[in-house]
């Protein structure tokens, strides 16, 4: 399955996207790319000058994806950083899903980055991750 995402119609007030990838690790990375694409007009304008690591645990994969995206939103608002996932490792044990990620990006610049939507949160509304024969697909709604 080719990794990628697309913004989809349907969510009237918000902004929804569908992401696909062959592995869960790649799916989470693609979702971070979609969030960045919602935030800036040209995601390629975000240079990899800063690195952060992130460790999270939630009861299931969908809540883990929700928390992961919301941590990226928090890092933008609280630390002024535009970040994407460089690498993600998802592990699952009974009753818990864990994430270890390396994030890369740079400080948000209202001059250098053409800003798009001020995503306030990824939401639990309609959130799903489904297995496909050739990989995984996630649907996420962003509150803007």
């Amino acid at each position: 399955m080719k990794a990628g995402f697309a913004f989809v119609e349907g969510a009237t007030s918000d902004l929804a996207f569908v992401a696909q990838a062959a592995t869960l690790d790649a799916l989470f990375a693609v979702a971070s790319e979609a969030l960045l694409a919602a935030t800036v007009e040209d995601p390629s304008s975000v240079a990899p000058s800063e690195r952060r690591t992130l460790s999270l645990a939630e009861p299931d994969l969908e809540l883990l994806l929700l928390r992961f995206l919301n941590e990226l939103v928090w890092l933008r608002d609280a630390k002024g950083l535009l970040l994407r996932a460089e690498s993600v490792r998802i592990t699952r044990e009974e009753g818990e899903a864990q994430l270890e990620a390396t994030l890369v990006g740079e400080p948000l610049s209202r001059i250098r980055h053409a800003l798009a939507a001020d995503v306030k949160a990824a939401t639990a509304h309609g959130l799903r991750i489904e297995g496909r024969p050739e990989g995984f697909e996630a649907r996420v709604t962003l509150d803007v």
Partner: protein, 404 residues
Amino acid sequence: MDEDTGVISPGGIGFDINCGMRLVRTDLTFAEVAPRLSELVDSLADRVPAGVGARGFLALNESEFEEVLRDGAHWAVKHGYGVPDDLLHTEATGRFPDADPAAVSTHAIERGLAQVGTLGSGNHYLEIQVAHPEGVADPDLARAFGIDRPEQVMVMFHCGSRGFGHQVASDYLHLFLRLMPTKFGLPLIDRELASAPFASPEGKSYYAAMCCAANMSFVNRQVILHRIREVFARVFQRSADALGIRCIYDVAHNTAKRETHLVGGEPRQLLVHRKGATRAFPPGHPELPPAYRATGQPVIVGGSMETGSWLLAGVPSGAVSFFSTAHGSGRTMSRTRARKLVRGRALQDQLAARGILVRTASLRGLAEEAGFAYKSVDEVAEATEEAGLSRRVAHLVPVGNVKG
């Protein structure tokens, strides 16, 4: 929800806690403003930061931010960002008294520190509007609310608690999702509507945190009004007071409030969740300020930047909805679809040709907010009147708009 047996739900309140509308009157007519309109809109866009990553002009430390969370708009007036009369014309005088900053995470405080005094983006805006005589549906109520001359210029803005409120709500959503199947024994039907018993320690804690976010939002709108006063005073070389700039009302539309209502003829203490719904108290309600005791509460319903907005008033028959009415016209089309149909720059030019000057932090965001993506605000206002939830007072038409 019953306070003793019901639940509190962050999703049922809305994540942009105390997102709300503020309507401000002036003594100016459109004929006086028109020659300076471009300068006015530019100055407002400059002085009220909007869009992604915008930072407010207040440099607050954590201790000061906690005062904001505790005291709401009273903090702003105490520090010179407004006058006491503003508080009388704000829902709950701009302060939810049950706020407790100890219930708010460090994560949320770090996110909110620099956000006071910022407009946001999406459907948040600051608009210069005109009350044309033909748009006044109830001249007596309009006069009582401060619309008292033909072609009067008004300022309306729509914003909330920014990322701070979202963080408060998200923090508790994750907590409640963990506790619903275990500690609370509650069925999880929709994760977005995760909840906790209001009487539980966690439910009470969320209520205290939500009140903090509501207070932050009241401060946000209060300091934005302060900046509006500064801009008008500079552009027109008269004090804001001399220009008759006065807050008509500030009303929230994403809250939960403890109120007493008649249920089956008996008064009951309830926690009223209003997500995307505006409180609309009727004439005579004891919580209304003296100025509006006889008229009923002003209700501000935002429309699109093309079609205008409505000022309504609360009515006695609104008891059927616990005195709640609509807050805005609502979208009919996805943002993705709207963006395919119009480019932001083209829309900006079209609106300018129609006499509506728009300044935006995001042209893509502007396209998503095109008028055709929204329901008719006239139909929404009329529907609330026909349903007996509120009555129409005046239609307000945009001439200048600042968008995030």
